[in-house]
Amino acid sequence: MLVLLAWRNFLRHLHRFQVILGALLLGFAALTVMIAVTSGMAQSLREKAARYFSGDLLVFSFREDRRILNEAAVHEALVKLPGVESLTRRTEYYKPDSTVFFAGSSVRLRKLTGIDWAVERPAFLTLDWREGQPPAVGDGQGVVLSAAVADRLGLRLGDGVTLTFQTLRRQTNSLNLVVRGVFYDTSLFGYAAYIDIEALNLAVGHPKGSVTAMGVMLKTETSSDALAPALVGLLRESVPTHDLITDRDTLNRVMGKLPKERPLGVMTLNANLADIQDILNALLAVTWVASGLFLAILMVGVGNTYRMILFERTQEIGTMRALGASRGRLLLLLLAEAGWLGLAGLVLGGGLGVFVSQAAGLLDWSSNGMALMFLQNGRLSPRFVPLPLACAGAALVLTTMLGALVPAWTAVKMRPVDALREGE
């Protein structure tokens, strides 16, 4: 009843609320855009990182040659996990000396990876391709390179390159490859090259069919941190597996010992991303600090505006008090009105925010090298994650009500006779 009465009052005094409603609308639209864009940026960064680090959850070997010997058991454990979007199956070249040569110039790669295109090609198709696409399954001569490498060497699709590296026995070896694709990537995950897994196995001296990294890309709502212990448990049913590796320092320490009794390791993307986690946390911190500041300013604004509105409604309030409305009930009524105001701002601002976010997603930012790590196909990809948006919405309504609290309390505190007199 009170809520309906508040709704009726809200509509009746809508002309008085117009300015503050406009402010709330714009404010929540800005909040929505900020949250959607930063969520999208963080997700893009994570997806790029997951591709670079062979998945959100990664299984690897502590053997000296890094081969996973129990591939079937690992595969079985991975597919049992919930929320799996796709699998990764790779041979990673761990030394920092792989170099691409083209027309006399060379670029040292940060990462050279052999990919099982039969498993990962569909996922690679979603990469930000500048030209070309992943090699076909069984194409042992194809290579895809990050734009950073291609730009430095002046490479185009179809160019022949020579890739040099060392075998497991530290012999100099090389492959002559053809550029099948160039993908946009950032300096953080740049200077990478992907080739066919069997071509790399053969070239570095792994037996055919070898694999050094197996992982899963998870659906966005699935937490790799939550699933990792379960994966360790599943693996331990058939293969001795090391305790979950929680950071890179631990990884390096354990890798130095090469524990033969527990040859498999499991690592989450977050553990791999200690450095990047700082970027993600900074992004989120900026968003939430900006949101907090905005809400504080909004609360002050609502308070001032509400004081004026309630001043104009002094006689109405006095009448209601004279007719027997208690202070508490009247206070609740005024706060409910403020709640409706906040809710209206939320709905309208949310709609505007979604529209603006989607429009921002249409702009091409690919010329901005620094921004590339946060983009999908050179564009922002806003994500409307329910929980943060719901929190922001709740905070908006609450802030509006809190802003209205002091003026409302001042108004209901007045004696009816004073209110009626003041209203004249």
Binding site: F101, G104, T164, R169, R170, Q171, T172, S174
Partner: protein, 253 residues
């Protein structure tokens, strides 16, 4: 039939006589031509030519004690590199940087001072220990009649797992083509002229062409080259102190 298998087997094992020597013995004889029983020292000038860039020149003093598998290299110029050095004792190789006054472990496979030469180019030749002959043929190389030996590494410590060497009748290597395991030509080394030191030989100069690094100049591909000129060869005994880390530290001060 068995005889044919024997003949073919012998051929591929490299036991067919060449220069009156068998495969490994032949490589050992080639090594012997450029190795010294005594100490050896010389002044090396390393000229790096990168197309489109000014040439850079380094001079260095090299001291070799082949019988103990040791060498010391002391960079004499340019001023910025002066005092840097290398010390090899057995299979250990250190690089000394006087700025940080620190020795760092390096590898014989690494590039020498970012040139196209490898650190292993300054040590004694050990073809017999590092390679086996997998093929041979007779080829004319300019004015030289040469035998080409195709070599395959027998250990993983060498800079290149496959090599082809052109040798003249005097068992001197006139040209080398170093390749990766897959057969990709990585670099070519030419030794146009030797100088006799005692009863052994030392190149007057070596030209190392990097077959992967270079630049197109006026539409023509020019590869990076490193020329190593060797002067003032000397067989006088070198003090033991020279083959120590202390020596490099001392002379760089």
């Amino acid at each position: 039939m068995k005889v044919w298998f024997l003949v073919l087997g012998c051929f591929f094992c490299g036991v067919f006589p060449a220069f009156g020597l068998e495969g490994r013995a032949l490589l050992a004889a080639i090594d012997r031509q450029v190795s010294f029983e005594t100490d050896f020292s010389a002044e090396y000038t390393v000229t790096q030519d990168r197309p489109g860039e000014p040439k850079s020149v380094q001079t260095l003093a090299l001291f070799r004690r082949d019988k103990a598998s040791k060498f010391t290299i002391l960079i004499l110029s340019p001023e910025i590199d002066k005092g840097k050095g290398y010390l090899k004792v057995d299979n250990n190789l250190w690089f000394y940087d006087p700025v940080g006054r620190r020795f760092t472990v390096t590898s014989a496979k690494d590039r020498f001072q970012n040139s196209n030469a490898r650190n292993s180019d300054f040590t004694r030749s050990n073809l017999a220990g590092d390679y086996r002959i997998v093929g041979q043929s007779k080829v004319a190389l300019g004015k030289f009649q040469t035998t080409v030996l195709e070599l395959e590494a027998t250990n993983d410590g060498v800079s290149f797992p496959r090599s082809k060497i052109w040798i003249t009748d005097d068992l001197l290597v006139r040209k080398t083509e170093d390749s990766s395991l897959s057969g990709q030509l990585m670099r070519t080394v030419a030794v146009p002229q030797y100088q006799k030191v005692g009863d052994r030989w030392v190149p007057v100069s070596m030209v190392i062409v990097d077959n992967l690094k270079g630049k197109a100049v006026n539409g023509k591909m020019r590869y990076e080259t490193t020329t190593i000129a060797i002067a003032k060869p000397n067989l006088d005994p070198v003090a033991d102190l020279v083959f120590t880390q202390g020596y490099l530290e001392k002379v760089s001060r």
